[in-house]
Symmetry: C2
Amino acid sequence: MTEARPRLSDRQRLAWLRLIRTPNVGPATFRDLINRFGSADAAIEHLPELMRNAGAKAPPRIPPVAVAEAEIDTAARHGARFVGIGEPDYPPMLRRMDHPPPLIAVKGNGAVFALPAVAIVGARNASLAGIKMARLLADAVGREGYAVISGLARGIDTAAHEGSLTTGTVGVLAGGLDRPYPPENAGLCERIAAGAGAIVSEMPFGWEPRAQDFPRRNRIVAGLALGLVVVEAARRSGSLISARLANEMGRTVFSVPGSPLDPRAEGANRLLKEGAVLVTGPEDILDALAPLTLTETPPDVSAEEPPDFSDAPPLIETDRTVILQALSPVPVGVDEIIRHTGLHPAQVFMVLLELDLAGRLERHPGGFVSLVDPET
Amino acid sequence: MTEARPRLSDRQRLAWLRLIRTPNVGPATFRDLINRFGSADAAIEHLPELMRNAGAKAPPRIPPVAVAEAEIDTAARHGARFVGIGEPDYPPMLRRMDHPPPLIAVKGNGAVFALPAVAIVGARNASLAGIKMARLLADAVGREGYAVISGLARGIDTAAHEGSLTTGTVGVLAGGLDRPYPPENAGLCERIAAGAGAIVSEMPFGWEPRAQDFPRRNRIVAGLALGLVVVEAARRSGSLISARLANEMGRTVFSVPGSPLDPRAEGANRLLKEGAVLVTGPEDILDALAPLTLTETPPDVSAEEPPDFSDAPPLIETDRTVILQALSPVPVGVDEIIRHTGLHPAQVFMVLLELDLAGRLERHPGGFVSLVDPET
């Protein structure tokens, strides 16, 4: 996918949308299915059999063609489009994260993704000083040619977007692209998309964001940027999760200090203790990121080699049992499973894929997997 | 001096006081004179000749015996005493700095110097939050067995002393021990000295502090402590000078962060960028210093070996000319002068001592010296 970057045909896009909208098909499973079966269409054909193999009681709930077509129509009515991971207008930075979303809905000016980017996030109940700081930083890095990424939340996020409306900002939604949250930021979404920026979401149109959707949103906020700046963050806050995710992806984490007596600074100060770059002004961000903008785009994370299926012996039921026995709720490396069971990598790959589709497998960063505890 | 720690006799103490109160005799010169002549009395005898040799127009202004006796009487009336560097009750931490003051005036409970110590300094025009923080930190480290050192200034310094009155605090004055500055802190000085702490000064009784005396005061504040905490500090402030001095002495520098939009946090945040330990609570200080309190007291800095005078050829006028020519307003290492001139170390030592006494030499950390620019 990396060299040619061909566009998906309408038929392919429809199949991609159906596959990614199928329950238990996340970004990693999607990639494995494409690697194994060559196309989304072929994967969809095999899904029922794979899930049966893993002991799933019900057949996969693959959205019918009409439902996926309706979502594509809805997107078009909203002036949005779906962009696949292999396509030329897919954000290059997203490809550099673990398990990038295979298909995202985008509305606005896609050229913003070509800019080097800084994420600026923080507290919803921000202080006036925090809001001023976020706007000031966004404005300054924007003028220096950076896009500003944020999560469209109240407080710091809103200030970050507003400070970079004319230079280019990207708002990432936790729900569908037609479901701005908080609702009062609907106008901000329109202004972002009508200007130099864009709004994006990996969630279906019509999806109302729930609490558990925000960490997924934060992952994309971090993934889109070279570095992530936390302006104000309480002790347990989404901004700290974003910082952790950014750090895990190898992005630079920045933090604006505050008085230890201000609870809104507690998380930000803790990040500084843990090694975040201290920010008192935009030059601290620019100085740290400038060298990164000069480097070539590294290879796509998603372009990892699938196993060679051609010489794999056929799977028998004993193989599934052996692999299941090697798994537990404690994460274990896929490599280790291959070594431990002595099975062909393609066999292990397939059994894990089946378990994943049946909702029995959890995937962790670094190629680790664990069994989903049926109790939880 | 390091093993026995004998007390000075009254006669020695008087001579030490006369010698250190002589203009152009600073701590380094004092040490060199004692090293060369064996005692303060003998040094005083040689001063006129040494200054003549260096081309001084006027004889040295050595305080007469009566004047020094009067200062000792004044000290006694104030309930204070003079402590010499070799004596058992001289603060052990001070011995570990470059050029410790040979004689200090102390009032209060000398046992406080036996405690491991933390200096807490900051802005005079501190915010209420800053004052609260300083008091809280001082109280907490005090309860953990640390003495709190500060400079008796308004704002942060006052809060630091007040937070540690009952556990032990040391106030260092920039003027004489009988000249508290600011005057409204006279009561605080009394409370410190009457309780578990002490006030100290290297300046003469009756000395009104001038602007240039505060960096000398800050040097002792930093020198008395294992680490120095800056609570609030503007861009150019005495607290930053204290932090630099502490760093040069190998003391740990701590800093409490603040909002970048608050000018009172600018200096503190800059220290964090330069590597100061970020402090949001007392445990940050305690965690960093605890390992240091377990180590043996390192050898006294002041105990460096003087050159061997016994085999030095007598000085002739040409030697002085050669050494003068090797000097300039740019600091140069004493070792380098010895190598460059080919003279005996004792000869170089003596000529530098003469120039020092004549006010023509400036000494810098690390054994560097420069010629005083006659224009300034």
